[in-house]
């Protein structure tokens, strides 16, 4: 089975966020870029499938600038991916997810695949656009947010569930397929030191995105981020003084009704 997994370098979740000087993006100075969140789940899921299906190969694919994109591909190789493709992002191209999808779909077109795994959404922009847009460009079905994904060899199909409001929608689907992973393993594997060293010797296939659509420059087609700001700081709770639990409850309910107006 040929498995492709789409991964995006995102700022370490512990990063202290600061807007850049223009106030249009995150100030990336000193940011540590990591493989995390649902993308980490997508890699873990791909490796679990590979272990379950003899003869499988996992290729990690990432679109982005140097050096962070190459670095997270290295970390995916260290976790057990067999190969990696780096689609280099032109220096002044915007990080728009619809553009990323276009570049990634072009890269996927040139490799055989039975399954493409992505995260349900990236931890930074939280767009949730890339997987479904890649699927449309490749002309294959897409499902998400997916949990509990398995391969049913006898029936030649995947089984999984979509996590929707109110429960799990059980599904079966034949390859080829794009899935967006929601499942979070609380303990995804970590790389062993010897594999980190081995991963350094694997050659990463580098492709340059040759066909950016006209007008692709600092602004993405159709949308651009006019402002990136931090929400007003929470100033700390208004603490409720009380003598009895009943008094605390009455005061809180009054504040929620009259001040916050969020009590239904």
């Amino acid at each position: 089975m040929e498995l492709l997994v789409l991964i995006k370098p995102v700022p370490d979740p512990e990063t202290r966020l600061r807007p850049n000087a223009a106030g249009t993006d995150l100030d990336t100075d000193g940011v540590k870029w990591v493989l995390t969140g649902y993308d980490e789940s997508a890699v873990e899921q791909a490796l679990l499938l590979k272990e379950a299906i003899p003869g499988s190969k996992v290729r990690a694919i990432a679109f982005g600038p140097a050096p962070r994109t190459e670095e997270i591909l290295r970390s995916a190789l260290a976790l057990g991916c067999d190969a990696a493709t780096w689609v280099e992002q032109p220096k002044d191209a915007a990080g728009d997810p619809m553009l990323a999808a276009e570049a990634l779909a072009a890269a996927c077109q040139n490799v055989p695949f039975d399954l493409i795994l992505s995260g349900k959404q990236a931890l930074d922009d939280e767009a949730g656009l890339v997987g479904p847009a890649v699927a449309e460009r490749l002309g294959v079905a897409d499902y998400g947010p997916v949990v509990d994904l398995r391969w049913d060899a006898a029936a030649n199909q995947f089984t999984f569930a979509r996590a929707i409001e109110g429960g799990l929608e059980r599904m079966v689907a034949p390859p080829p397929l794009v899935v967006g992973l929601q499942q979070a393993w609380n303990d995804p594997r970590t790389a062993k030191l010897q594999n980190v060293l081995k991963a350094r010797r694997i050659a990463i296939d580098k492709v340059t995105w040759a066909n950016p659509p006209p007008g692709v420059g600092p602004a993405a087609p159709g949308t651009h981020v006019a402002a990136f700001r931090l929400p007003p700081p929470r100033t700390g709770a208004k603490m409720i003084e009380y003598k009895t639990p009943e008094e605390a409850a009455q005061k809180l309910v009054r504040l929620l009704r009259e001040e916050a107006k969020t009590l239904p």
Binding site: A141, G236, A249
Partner: protein, 331 residues
């Protein structure tokens, strides 16, 4: 703006989901008062009649139905083919989708097919002085905000749940028209739904749709004490969530975990009970409108992000709060 706005209405058990009604409200806000830019509600599936009558009284200028069993189960490939064809036929300029699991899955696929721009997770929307659309969307788990300007002739907009009020019944009734299924073109090999498992906490609304979430942590001391939270949640018409300390101990299923490795929620009201407020928990709930914390430790970090805090023993405060809520809500 020149051209109608589509609002795709998602149904569950034959009725429109709340997030789709919110999308109607957002569509109305975008289009301006009735009689200016038309808002068209679109319903797809075999049993859409009563839902169509319902939305006809809630802010739409027109309701279109495509009665076809191929839309009874959600398939992004099929839905995006149909909506694209129809949007092209009617010269639509914007498609609004609810912040549901299916709605979120449809945005990217539809935008790629229709050749449109796409913005998701929208918490607020407005038109700037020069006529461009401005969408505000929380990013980084609500720790930052993006203001996205849309200059495209066509756009697909995905909304955040609980961000827009659903319209009240208007008293007038928009016309309901049936439309034939458009040409879908070549479709990929599709999967199909083989069953449905109701989530374990099926009594209240789902976490992602709940307007109130009552969330419990290790301070609850044991699974049996979550009854107290169930009662408080029921009195508020809300849902129960949990910290990872609780789901890791098996007191509650993992599906109820809120935070970095669980769900991200943004209700109107989030009540954190016996939760310390670790950063991995905060990223999952920080964009809630109002946050209340009940904790016996005045130094608990949760009080730094809460709007209202009660320092005290949850075993005394929570039952008192439930009685008070029941009293004022008359239930």
């Amino acid at each position: 703006m020149t051209g109608p706005v589509f609002v795709i209405v998602e149904l569950r058990n034959g009725a429109p989901v709340r997030s789709s009604l919110e999308a109607l409200g957002a569509g109305r806000r975008l289009a301006g008062p009735p009689g200016t830019t038309p808002v068209i509600a679109l319903l797809l599936g075999s049993a859409v009649e009563s839902a169509a009558a319902h939305v006809a009284e809630r802010g739409a200028d027109q309701v279109l139905t495509i009665v076809d069993p191929r839309f009874d189960s959600f398939q992004a490939a099929v839905w995006s083919a149909a909506i694209t064809a129809l949007a092209q036929e009617l010269g639509v300029i914007a498609v609004l989708l609810a912040g549901t699991a299916h709605g979120r899955q449809l945005v990217g696929r539809l935008a790629a097919r229709w050749g449109a721009a796409a913005v998701t997770g929208i918490a607020d929307i407005s038109i700037s002085n020069d006529g461009a659309m401005l969408a505000v969307r929380p990013v980084f788990s609500g720790r930052a905000l993006q203001e996205v300007r849309v200059d495209a002739p066509r756009v697909v907009l995905g909304l955040r749940p609980n961000a827009f009020p659903p319209p009240e019944p208007s008293g007038s009734k928009a016309p309901v028209l049936a439309h034939a299924t458009p040409e879908l073109g070549k479709l990929p090999a599709l999967g199909h739904v083989s069953g449905f498992e109701t989530a374990q906490s099926a009594s209240g609304p789902d976490l992602s749709e709940a307007t109130v979430i009552v969330s419990g942590g290790r301070g609850l001391k044991g699974p049996e004490n979550f009854r107290m939270l169930d009662e408080l949640a029921a009195s508020l018409g809300g849902a129960v969530g949990a910290s990872r300390a609780v789901t890791d101990s098996g007191w509650k299923p993992a599906a109820l975990q809120i935070g970095q490795t669980g769900r991200t929620v943004s209700p109107q009201l989030y009540i954190a009970i016996g939760i310390s407020g670790a950063i991995q928990h905060l990223v999952g709930m920080i964009s809630s409108r109002t946050i209340v914390a009940i904790n016996s430790d005045p130094g608990a970090p949760i009080f730094k992000v809460a709007d209202y805090g009660i320092v005290g023993d949850l075993f005394q405060i929570v039952p008192a709060l439930t009685s008070e809520v029941r009293r004022v809500r008359g239930s």
